[in-house]
Amino acid sequence: MSTMALSQFSIPFLMGNSLNAWSDALAGFYLFGLPLGLVILAAIPLVFIALYSLTYGVYGERKISAFMQDRLGPMEVGKWGILQTIADILKLLQKEDIVPASADKFLFVVGPGILFVGSFLAFAVLPFSSAFIGANLNVGLFFAIGIVAIEVVGILAAGWGSNNKWSLYGAVRSVAQIVSYEIPAAIALLCGAMMAGTLDMQKITMLQSGAYGFAHFFLFQSPIAWLPFLIYFIASLAEVNRAPFDIPEAESELVAGYFTEYTGMKFAVIFLAEYGSMFMVSAIISIVFLGGWNSPLPNLGGFALNDWTNGPVWGAFWIITKGFFFIFVQMWLRWTLPRLRVDQLMYLCWKVLTPFAFISFVLTAIWEVYRP
């Protein structure tokens, strides 16, 4: 059976199948006394973000938005416009790197960097497979929620450093939105952490594995789990500034928000950060509520679908698929819903999502204590 052989597919890596085997092996890899493995370990998510932004992020979003609006999208460069992104990259690389004369040079340059680091840091605690995680912290989930704060500082640096009214408005809106929506998002994730009883990302994922596939996922393990799931999904849209919460870059009011003044590679870095955060929140929601790298297929009698489709390589496939699915939903919503006003945005956060997050928190606690 080729499918069965695939579940033991890590033989070419010669690193075994046990938990964190690949990342542990990489962390112990030294070249000339230098911890080269650690650098490679950190570079893997970086390469992943770049590759996925190029293919699915930019090209996929343009195609998906085009199909939703009954257009064709990019069609000229290559077959079905497949090479369009590469042409765009070449264009971006050749663009003049303009720094406005009245901008604060230092903050203007450093802003996109801080922004990208903020979105990239959370990838350290995302388990990409049962055998691969950047840093297996016992406070992984807390780290992933908290590290977004650095992104906020980057946005402020970019917006203020541009010395432009629109940029500053965009930055202030964005920060107000991220800081507010952190609260329902954190409480909703806390419901998942409560069901798991740990903040360790690998342990949260392992608690959701079992022979019945998707039935073991936290989303289906409790009668109220759909509420924090929904709250986190809505709040995560606001945290990554995606529609219908894209008021920080509202192009009809603010030109482009906090990155109005950016050109060339700095603009590309800001977009890379946005796509990085999109995958980050999608991966977090899949890990906490939808089983992370676990296969959703159940064992059906003789067809042990779950056993065949589990393993380190399959794990990477499943978590990336789940992440891409949520990114697809994010794109879908972007081209379906109109943008909210600022006051509606704050109303939704403080008067709808936060109370419901508290309700789901209490209900989950009651369910966990008095579970039949």
Partner: protein, 170 residues
């Protein structure tokens, strides 16, 4: 990781913390000093990790970077005369200030050099630190915990009251 790697990374973070803290104090531009605080807080969080207090490290990032620093930046950015670096306080006590500085540094150095042995904890940490923190907060330290909650709640209500929009009809 080998010992050298640890040492190199430790000194890297220590240097980041100290240099950025010095920059916060010595720069004349308020906005730069606010942004420099980011690196100070982050370096301090990294030093907590070296003390294997990762929960405190993440809390440091959440509270100081996510809360206090953002608030500070908001406050600083909406100040009008932000770029005027010539601002000086009218009152300037150089001699008492220097004396206080020397006394403080002297006291701290004295404590460091006279404390020969750091006191290690009697019980070793076992298992997940997060669980221990949770148990301790909810059992032995439940009264301080609740008091802090009430204080924060009072502060929240006060802030909401102050910022309330008064309807003209009333």
């Amino acid at each position: 990781m080998s010992n050298t790697t640890y040492t190199v990374i430790f000194y890297l973070f220590a240097a980041i913390t100290v240099c950025s803290a010095a920059f916060v104090v010595f720069t004349r531009n308020v906005i730069y000093s606010a942004f420099s605080l980011l690196f100070t807080f982050f370096g301090a969080a990294a030093l907590y990790v070296f003390l294997s207090a990762d929960f405190i490290a993440v809390t440091q990032v959440v509270v100081y970077v996510g809360g206090i620093l953002v608030l500070l930046l908001f406050g600083v950015m909406f100040t009008n005369s932000i770029m005027q670096t010539g601002q000086k306080s009218e009152v300037l006590h150089i001699i008492p200030g220097t004396l206080l500085l020397i006394a403080m540094i002297g006291a701290m150095l004295y404590t460091i050099y006279t404390t020969h042995t750091w006191m290690p904890s009697e019980t070793m940490l076992q298992g997940s630190i997060v669980e221990r923190i949770g148990f301790e907060t909810m059992s032995r330290y439940v009264l301080p915990f609740e008091m802090v909650s009430i204080l924060l709640l009072a502060a929240l209500i006060g802030a909401a009251f102050l910022a309330r929009f008064d309807k003209p009809g009333k």
